[in-house]
Amino acid sequence: MQFEWIMVPYSLLTLFIVVNYGLLLTALMQKIGARVGRRHGIPIWQNYVDLIKNYGIRSSITHGVMFYLGPVFRLTGGVGLLLFVPTLYGSEMFSNLSFAGDLILALYFIFFGSLGMALGAGESGHPHSAIGVSRGLSQVTTAELPFALAVFAIALQYQTLSVTEIVAAQQGSVWNWTLFTNPLAVAAAMLSFLGSMMRPPFDVVLAPQEIPIGPPTEYHSSYLALMQTNRVIFPIAKIVVYMNLFFGGAATWPVFFLKVFLIYFFSLFVGVVFPRFRVEQSVRWFLVWALPLGIAAILVV
């Protein structure tokens, strides 16, 4: 596959859909979470309002170049990740820019935004930002591990690293999904997914009220707006990867919305049930519970 100009509007369209869906979805998730607490929670459009408000803040400060660039990195990471993976299976329109690389690209591009963000947060000079980064990075070392193993396992299983081909291999029947053909890998990956969603019990990175909110402590106004934008794109982009790898992908938008919702909901569901882990606890948790699953997944393939 090669680059064609038509991909640009197609990709922008994907982006547009995903942003809007994400804004609503995250609000919905918050509402569901609120309902667990017997509240009504924010209005469904609240994310739009917050976003507009933040773009509308008149003043801002900057701590330096990296501080300024941090959110740019962050959003580039989210958008890039989204665009490097085909959103809808079989649709040339929504294959985005996946010609540039395969699964491995997606896997490593996940870190692009986090790295830039961490750098930006670092330049703010706020110790809480640094503490948040420290926690985040520490946690990610083991949280990503089962996912990596699962990816390796299914790459071995399907003998390919191309996302499209992996999805193709899962077509036909629900039973062809990796979820059923390789449940161990999926289990490992889904545990890992919990760790990457910044939700309880793995949200010690942000830990509101403790280290205010971790890395973004100093971010505000349009910086924050960019990050909020990313906050709706990035999880979905990640979920798209999971969906493609483990849950048969999606051929149409409704299926896409449904699957993304369900996968997202899984993290929310766990999050409202469990309290927060400290970093070393979560590291141990991943090593003890998720890692063996991943290893088993590799060995049985």
Binding site: I61, P127, S134, R135, L145, F152
Partner: protein, 1041 residues
């Protein structure tokens, strides 16, 4: 030709003539002594020349006009001539050195000196057993006199102990001689050899007594307490004589006896020799006094030569070459060191730091040590090479192991000493100003290098002193007076010139390594433009390292490979030692490197099976039972260099403490030598199985463990350079892992790591080094907020860490992508898990690096810090460009290598179509990724600039701080123990288990040495008892055997 008898007659005449002179005529006496010694030296030299040029044949000197065995006869062959020359030259030089002392002591002392060298020459030349005894006694008595030249009051007691011991020796010897005479009816050695069957049957005990007496004269371990006391207390010039000349003479005597004794006794000599070598070296570990240390070392060296003498049956015609090489190297080195010790005022090893003021003497010191240890290009190197090959070919594996162990211990304590000289405080008196003494030392240095040349010529291999790179490196010794910048330009020109010159000869793999070593080396050297002054010692060392690397790449046979390996080890050792706090680290680097080198040597020796020339490609043909062992030895040797886990403890200190521009050299370039070796090994030997275990699999585990633990430990470092150093361990682990996968992409990945690691590690070391230079600290938590002050360094580090972490779009991702494709076809899956674990850990330390240094809070004392010097920044910027180019077009380098690797592993090659790289499993388009990411980034950035154009720039304390304000930058900068919670969870993995292990090993050795050396109680009687015990024990063992 003048008859060699005049060597004896002349000395005696001279000695008697001295008696005629009046006591106050010191000058005349001295001149006579010198004339006599010059005469004998000239005589010996002319004979050596004539004999070696083939002008004359070995000459038999009859006395009394009667044929042997009825009269005493002497013989002068080429070996004897060389020894006599050595003895008399040492005597002459010592006489020069002793000028003041001799003037003070008068003609009698001079006469004794003359007789001493006469007696030693006699020992060498005589062919009569009893005559040998007479000369030995002359040596003993004159030693008794010459000890008194020392101003040390303790020398007297030492002399008495010596006399006691030699009385015992002479009693045994006489009894032995007379019974040997009785058994053979002759005192002539040749007759005895002819009748050796009879002698050994009936008079075995007689021979034993003579043999053991001569062996005891050699001061073998452990019956040598008196000798050590003499070495410690005697005048250094005399110690030089004892060590160099007397030791050599006694060895010749032993050699003569072994002609009688035959193989059975050669074995005894070998065992005594090797025990001496190992034991004395071990004891030397605990020494703090220079001359006593040299004494132990002498004992060890003599033991080694005794071992060689004992191995003459298997060395065959190479015996003289080997024995001569070791012996002459020892003699010159040891004599030189003793002479040097006379220039140093203090007796503690650390007092040698006084040498630091004088580069010439320091060079001499280094040369002598290299001579002793047998480093290239000195004779000992050639000799040990052949020795090891011979004993390996005859399956004397235990001896081989002991030999290498002893040599390693020796290198350890000698280079520890060198480290003291380079690094310790100069708090002692300066070195003695005597011109004579310095001249003598210089002559010894010259002799050493001359021998190096001669041995190179004699060896069947290439003369290392003919190798252009080595010569180039040595040329810098002569250019030391030039300013550093000029030398730097020369060095860069040299590297690039050599690259251009050799370019056509490289195959793709070599080309990649050559690019890194030569072009890359030149690039790093740009940073050295920063230093002004003369930078003594830097360029010869650096160029030696580069020379070794350049030669390593093109080496075709094992000898050249190993010689290159040793050169680069030595060069880099000197380089590393230059760092401010690097003394212990340089030492551990050297010890590990030499240990690894010895394993390599053993591996080659086993593989060669006695072949003089062993092509590296013939490693593939090594037969089965041996092959896995060879593989294992070589692999471990190479892995020492790549600092695989377990053998890594030298690396962090060595890389971290090195100078700013040295760290990238040793990290970015030097580590690749090990990888090159592994490439070479795997290409030739492929997979090997030992006890059913696939060694490649083991390597894979080692690689994975290195990657994991290296990364993990890097994450817990507070010192920026140490962090980078540990990260190198991890990175090398990745490369090792890739290699061990033994598939196409695995190797490609390893090569990718070779290139990438060179670029980003050099860059990071340079920028971190620049920062450390400006801030005066390497502890990251003491820095912070430097981004605005050192923006270029920041950019370099930023690009570096993005590349290193493998995040797209920079080149590190290529490595990860190839890695994933490679593991798809690998058979072993478990080690992957470790690699997977270690991957994200890289983020930990990389972020910490950039955050703690450049981000966060700026410290007060760094407010006026400037950007790193231009010459440090320039190469960094070039690296940035390289990284970007390499990220965009990895094919530039990889495509050819990909094709090249297909020669070995055809499966799984990549296909390069247009912008996309495709493997069996996936695809990747570097340019597209770069463009897409770039476009998205620019768009978003532009948007942010638009909406956020009026941002107010604030200062470092303008942070929300729970409504408070920060107290100080130091307390606000979150950097120390950055990963505290992580440490809580996984810190146990970074427990320094290997450090503890190696520390325990060295402690054990030192404790052993410290405890066991107490057998040398200082009591002369005890020494004599040792001697008798030695005799009895050897007797019993020999009987038992």
């Amino acid at each position: 030709m003048v008859s060699p008898i005049f060597i004896i007659a002349g000395s005696l005449g001279g000695a008697f003539l001295l008696g005629l002179l009046r006591d106050p005529w010191r000058g005349a006496s001295y001149v006579i002594s010198l004339l006599v010694l010059t005469f004998t030296t000239w005589l010996a030299g002319s004979w050596l020349w004539a004999l070696s040029s083939g002008a004359v044949t070995p000459v038999e000197i009859l006395t009394a006009g009667t044929q042997p065995p009825f009269a005493v006869n002497l013989r002068l062959g080429i070996a004897e001539a060389a020894m006599v020359l050595l003895i008399n030259l040492t005597g002459l030089l010592s006489a020069l050195y002793l000028k003041d002392t001799l003037f003070k002591q008068g003609r009698r002392a001079m006469a004794v000196l003359l007789i001493f060298s006469m007696a030693l020459s006699g020992i060498v030349m005589t062919r009569d057993l009893f005559n040998l005894f007479v000369f030995f006694e002359l040596t003993v008595i004159s030693t008794g006199g010459l000890i008194l030249l020392s101003r040390d009051p303790r020398a007297l007691a030492a002399g008495f102990k010596y006399l006691v011991a030699s009385q015992v020796v002479s009693i045994l010897m006489l009894v032995g001689i007379i019974f040997a005479y009785h058994a053979t009816g002759s005192l002539n050695l040749d007759d005895m050899a002819a009748a050796s069957a009879a002698l050994l049957r009936g008079g075995a005990l007689a021979f034993f007594l003579v043999f053991i007496a001569v062996v005891a004269e050699l001061k073998v371990f452990p019956a040598n307490g008196w000798a050590l006391d003499i070495y410690e207390s005697a005048h250094p010039a005399f110690s030089a004589l004892v060590s160099a000349a007397a030791g050599s003479a006694s060895l010749v005597a032993i050699d003569k006896l072994l002609q009688i004794g035959g193989p059975a006794w050669m074995d005894v000599a070998s065992i005594i020799g090797i025990v001496s070598f190992v034991g004395a070296n071990l004891f030397a570990l605990a020494q703090r006094v220079d001359r006593r240390l040299l004494g132990y070392s002498s004992v060890a060296q003599i033991g080694l030569i005794l071992f060689v003498v004992g191995q003459q049956d298997i060395l065959g015609e190479r015996y003289l070459f080997v024995a001569g090489g070791v012996l002459l190297a020892h003699a010159v080195g040891k004599a030189g060191l003793f002479w040097l010790s006379g220039l140093v005022a203090g007796r503690d090893l650390t007092a040698w730091s006084a040498l630091r003021g004088n580069p010439l003497l320091l060079f001499a010191f280094a040369s002598f040590l290299a001579l002793l240890i047998g480093l290239p290009p000195f004779p000992g190197f050639y000799a040990k090479w052949e020795l090891v090959h011979a004993i390996a070919a005859h399956d004397h594996l235990l001896e081989l192991a002991l030999l290498l162990f002893g040599a390693l211990v020796e290198a350890g304590y000698l280079y520890r000493w060198f480290g003291y000289a380079i690094k310790r405080e100069i708090d002692h008196e300066p070195i003695a100003p005597s011109l004579y003494k310095r001249a003598v030392v210089c002559v010894a240095v010259l002799a050493g290098w001359l021998l190096a040349y001669v041995w190179g010529e004699l060896s069947p291999h290439d003369n290392l002193l003919h190798a252009v790179p080595v010569l180039f490196a040595l040329a810098f010794l002569a250019l030391e007076w030039l300013p550093a910048r000029v030398k730097n330009a020369l060095a860069i020109a040299g590297l690039l010139g050599w690259f251009a010159f050799s370019y056509p000869a490289y195959d793709p793999l070599q080309l990649i390594f050559a690019l890194i070593v030569l072009a890359g080396g030149a690039l790093i050297l740009l940073a050295s433009f920063h230093s002004d002054g003369r930078r003594l010692g830097f360029y010869p060392s650096a160029m030696l390292m580069y020379a070794g690397l350049a030669m390593l790449i093109v080496a075709e046979d094992s000898f050249n490979f190993f010689a290159a390996w040793e050169s680069l080890t030595i060069g880099s050792y000197f380089l590393i030692l230059r760092g401010r706090q690097s003394e212990p680290h340089a030492l551990s680097y050297l010890v590990f490197s030499l240990g690894g080198a010895f394993l390599i040597l053993a591996g080659f020796a086993l593989a060669a099976q006695g072949n003089v020339q062993f092509l590296l490609v013939s490693l593939a043909e090594v037969a089965e039972p041996l092959a896995p062992w060879v593989f294992a030895l070589l692999a471990v040797g190479f892995m020492t260099k790549t600092a695989a886990i377990g053998l890594h403890i030298w690396l962090p200190g060595a890389h971290a403490e090195a100078e700013t521009d040295v760290s990238p050299m040793v990290s970015g370039i030097l580590l690749k030598a090990g990888l090159f070796g592994l490439f070479m090994l795997l290409m030739t030997m492929g997979r090997q199985e030992l006890y059913g275990v696939d060694l490649a699999h083991v390597m894979m585990w080692i690689g994975a463990l290195s990657a994991l633990l290296g990364n993990l430990m890097a994450a817990f470092q507070e010192d920026a350079k140490r962090l980078l150093a540990y990260s190198s361990i991890g990175q090398m682990g990745y490369a090792l892992f890739g290699l061990a996968m033994m598939n196409h992409l695995g190797w490609l990945m390893a090569l990718m790591f070779v290139i990438n690691h060179y670029i980003y590690k050099s860059m990071l070391f340079l920028s971190v080094g620049g920062v450390a230079k400006r801030t005066g600290t390497r502890a990251m938590y003491q820095m912070g907020g430097l981004i605005t002050l050192m923006p270029l360094s920041f950019i370099a580090v930023l690009i570096g860490i993005i590349a290193m972490s493998g995040v797209p779009p920079l080149s590190g991702f290529g490595g990860r992508w190839i890695f994933y494709n490679a593991i798809m076809t690998s058979e072993y899956r478990l080690p992957m898990i470790l690699i997977f674990v270690s991957g994200p850990i890289a983020f930990l330390y990389l972020f910490r690096l950039i955050h703690s240094i450049f981000l966060g809070q700026l410290k007060d004392e760094h407010r006026r810090v400037k950007e790193a010097p231009f010459w440090l920044v320039l190469p960094q910027m070039i690296y940035v460009v390289c990284l970007l180019v390499f990220a965009l077009a990895p094919g530039l380098a990889l495509r050819r290598v990909d094709a090249y690797i297909s020669n070995f592993l055809p499966q799984g090659a990549l296909s390069w179509e247009g912008l996309t790289i495709t493997s069996e499993f996936g695809y990747w388009s570097p340019v597209s990724i770069m463009l897409i990411v770039g476009v998205i980034f620019v768009v978003i950035f532009a948007w942010l600039l638009f909406v956020n154009r009026r941002a107010q720039k604030v200062k470092q304390f303008n942070i929300v701080f729970a409504a408070e304000r920060p107290y100080r930058p130091e307390t606000t900068h979150y950097a120390w123990n950055f990963y505290a919670p992580y440490k809580k969870a996984l810190g146990f993995l970074a427990w320094p288990v290997f450090e503890r292990f190696w520390a325990a090993v060295t402690d054990l050795l030192h404790t052993l040495a410290e405890l066991l050396r107490r057998i040398y109680t200082g009591n002369g009687q005890v020494y004599a008892i040792h001697l008798l015990a030695f005799v009895v024990v050897v007797y019993l063992l020999k009987e038992g055997l």
